[in-house]
């Protein structure tokens, strides 16, 4: 089966989406388009030059260009708008959470806003406090937004296709540290439906529910722990809105031991919500307390030594799994 780097699968998906539907317009900073500061961003320029009328570079006005994308979606286009760093979404917060998220509901089902917001979240290394946010939990608090968190080359392409075809506003939250991972991406692969978790690795001892980059980090930890006799099952929800809770609970019922790994801050983060739901639905199935591995509740520091200390690192994931397995 064909193998691609994550960034290659992502760009291939974007190219196919633009080629298939002329209602798709891509609003982005051309110099960084879709890949942030990754060295692979040069490959984006080929896409930009293939669709010169539909790849649009806006001024540095996140509030307005997100609103333009939403308004264009209400009037018949299907824009994808690239905010680059997830922290920049705060500049556009009123349009994303108070206009796009509410439009369909508030109009009593009259007005669709099929727009995709693309963000690169999390600790990318030396991002410090203002370029390292993971706003997915804040966005999960805004009903009306679909929230996608891909973690593999096949997923990023397949989920991007579903996002572009979604009739609801969708936040596509990617991680720049995933771009180098390689994996199988079948030719002519299908779109991956929202709300279908994937068991990325099977194991009988401990369930790890992880999102985005934390899926890859948890898989690496799971390989090492297998040598010590701990069989870890890694469940990747892939989308948190909608959430495939059945697959998560199926794994929880099998192992009875749960670690949730996510890059949001601890308080009211994605892990907090998942832990609460698992505890509510499956308290009697648990053989040990649920643990979570998340970013510590401080602004993100610059120094690599400090950033590593606050992050959900492989060491902390391994420690939590060992504790859950005892």
């Amino acid at each position: 089966m064909r193998e691609l780097a994550y960034y290659e699968a992502k760009l291939e998906g974007l190219r196919e989406i633009l080629a298939a539907d002329e209602r798709v317009h891509f609003i982005t900073e051309i110099a960084t388009g879709f890949l942030g500061l990754s060295p692979h961003r040069v490959h984006f320029r080929q896409i930009a030059s293939s669709f010169p009328d539909r790849v649009i570079a806006p001024p540095i006005s996140e509030l307005a260009f997100c609103g333009v994308a939403i308004g264009a979606a209400m009037a018949g286009l299907r824009p994808i708008v690239d905010l680059i760093t997830a922290s920049f979404a705060f500049e556009a917060w009123p349009q994303i959470v108070n206009e796009a998220a509410n439009a369909f509901y508030m109009s009593g089902g009259q007005t669709r806003a099929p727009v995709v917001f693309h963000l690169l979240h999390g600790l990318r290394g030396a991002g410090a406090a203002q370029h390292s946010h993971s706003p997915q939990a804040m966005l999960w608090n805004c009903p009306g937004l679909k929230i996608v968190l891909p973690s593999s080359p096949r997923d990023v392409k397949g989920l991007l296709k579903t996002a572009a075809a979604s009739d609801s506003p969708t936040v596509f939250i990617d991680h720049v540290l995933l771009f180098e991972y390689r994996g199988s991406v079948p030719e002519n692969d299908e779109a991956i439906p929202f709300g279908q978790a994937e068991i990325k690795r099977s194991g009988a001892d401990v369930t790890v529910v992880a999102t985005s980059l934390m899926v890859q980090r948890s898989l690496a930890v799971a390989e090492r722990l297998a040598k010590d006799g701990i069989q870890v099952e890694v469940v990747d929800p892939r989308t948190i809105v909608p959430l495939d809770f059945d697959t998560i609970m199926g794994s929880v019922e099998k192992t009875g031991r749960v670690v949730v790994v996510d890059e949001c801050h601890q308080s009211c983060g994605v892990a907090a919500e998942l832990v609460a739901r698992i505890a509510e639905a499956g308290f009697d199935k648990l053989k040990a307390p649920i643990r979570r591995v998340v970013t510590l509740d401080v602004p993100i520091p610059f120094s690599p030594r400090l950033e590593e200390f606050v992050s959900p690192s492989e060491a902390r994931i391994a420690e939590a799994i060992r504790a859950a397995a005892r």
Binding site: H25, D53, R54, I56, P58, P59, S61, L63, A64, F65, C66, G67, V68, A69, I70, G71, A72, A73, M74, A75, G76, L77, P79, P94, Q95, N98, E99, A103, F104, Y105, M106, S107, G108, G109, Q110, T111, R112, A113, P114, P143, G144, K146, D167, S168
Partner: protein
Amino acid sequence: MDPIDQAHQSREWLIESCRRMLLIRHFEETLIGLQNQGHFAGHYHVYIGQEATGVPALSCLAPDDHIFTTHRNHGHLLARGAEPGRMYAEILGRRDGYNKGKGGTFHIAASHLGFHHTSGIVGGIIPLAAGAAYAAKARKTGQIAVCLIGDGALEEGAAPESFNIASLWKLPVLYLCENNGKYGAGRALGAAQSFSMAAYPLTDLPKVYKIPAQQVDGTDALAVYRVVSEVVGKIRQGQGPQFIETHTVRWPGSESNWPVVPVVTSVDLAWDASAAPEKFRDWYRASDPVLAFIRKIVEAGAATRAQLAEIDAQAVDLIDRAAKFALASPFPEPQEALTDVFA
């Protein structure tokens, strides 16, 4: 010069515009009564005093143009032909409301009339209108987008950011800024400096972004029609965004946050305002755009007072039936709250 000839307006247009202005006036007067009787909760904003802006301005549009409006939307929807009964039902939170009771007064949407999304956030629609204009331009549909805002919206950062994009990309969008601040909350004063806006006149703001901008008397329906129809023509020709600031005199009934109706508007009031309490009389005599329009039509010989009184009676009757329709409409089933989250 006869102002009616100058506007090249047919008698039918004059009568229809008058009918819609009276409909808006009575809609709001009755709505204030419904609020005072406790039929709906929450804050709301009325369009009284601005009828001669919304009605002629929106008559310049094509049926499929995109319109984005604000918390002060009632007049815009009625000008465009929305059903007053379904609007009342929405404001009262009833099942037959345009938004199934999920929007309320701030968010009335009527997609089939071009009102896709009505935002209660000041400045919220300014980028959205540019976006609809972007879509129309990209799809070459010939549609334009109209952004109906108040003067306060220019204080939001969304305004200059959107003006910049609309101008750079030559988007077919009309910004119609209804400045009703003169004697009211005292925000932007238009031609003079205010406590909340350093730029004046307000038309200086869009002009910085090379958007042609002009001011017009928003109480003069014919002047509004002339300016808006000319500007809409330019936008349709591909000349890019345009900005119009209209000036109206704030209706003293809404000087407090909770409006009161000092006198029910009638055709007779156009010639004799003595029925209005003294505090309000000057406004009805000198600043009421509906009464001014009624006088103009009669003086031009386009209709008699008796004919307009008949139209007024029909408007009163229509509004009365609309209110009854809304009051008879049931509240939605509670489970309705869980639908329409996702398309």
